[in-house]
Symmetry: C2
Subunit: 153 residues, 2 copies
């Protein structure tokens, strides 16, 4: 994994990464623990719901996307965490058999006004299915350590 620092995130850059094939078993397992609503647990009940068939909890989709972000970008980076999510939209159901990946767009990068050793990078993360459709869109900032400070030290 690359040693990504604040300086490495250039606004406008678009990257696509990750591959995760969704199974019925993991949809039901996640929902049983965190979101036991019928449309995430049972095909019959799901068919009668707005989702029109068994689909993953929206929070499960967030977890799947996070894992691909860690495996392909955050892991090994100078990431220091995130203050939160500016906006998130669940746009389409995630079904068993879907093959998901992440499209990452860097929206903004600004040094911290208070702490010289770090900066905020604002991203748009989109979770894509095998048809290239966006199933989940999320805008959020992540804090990264700055490399520049080393040269100044």
């Amino acid at each position: 994994m690359p040693d990504l620092a604040f300086e490495d995130f250039v606004p406008g850059t678009v990257t696509t990464y990750g591959r995760h094939e969704v199974t019925r078993e993991e949809i039901v397992s996640f929902a049983s623990q965190f979101d036991p609503q019928p449309m995430h647990l049972d095909e019959g009940a799901a068919a009668q719901s707005m989702l029109g068939g068994l689909a993953a909890s929206g929070w499960h989709s967030c977890g799947i996307m996070m894992r691909m972000m860690v495996d392909n970008m955050l892991g090994g980076s100078r990431g220091m965490g995130s203050p939160g999510i500016d906006e998130m939209r669940w746009l389409r159901p995630v079904r068993p058999g879907d093959v998901l990946s992440v499209r990452q767009t860097i929206l903004e990068a600004r040094p911290s006004a208070k702490k010289a050793d770090r900066g905020y990078v604002k991203f748009r993360f989109e979770l894509l299915n095998q048809a290239g459709e966006v199933v989940l869109e999320e805008v959020n900032s992540i804090i990264f350590g700055r490399r520049t400070q080393e040269a100044l030290a």
Copy 2:
């Protein structure tokens, strides 16, 4: 569980519910699957991080809150899903041994402009620890079926 419909959500109403005691095992288990960053997996690495000690993945906190929402409010309701999250802030670390509950505030309720059988309820959900501190704050809308339509039918 009560049969909660759109009409039952009155703006200004504040409710507190749920109880979940967080374990080290579940923090590590969730992080291993969805967010394998050192501060969620290993005490030593976590002590060196911004979190200052082992803490749950922010997405794990979201899942814990969702489960309490389903068990105490959404389950048995006429909930039809959510379009997304307007804003979410991770405010404090969630540690092993923390005892969490949910404070729910109804911000707004408006009938759907397009579909007469449903309406949108906008909530603020706060995840509280045993000290009454807010560890996670989330604003989002949930769609609920309307009871009124039955009388009109």
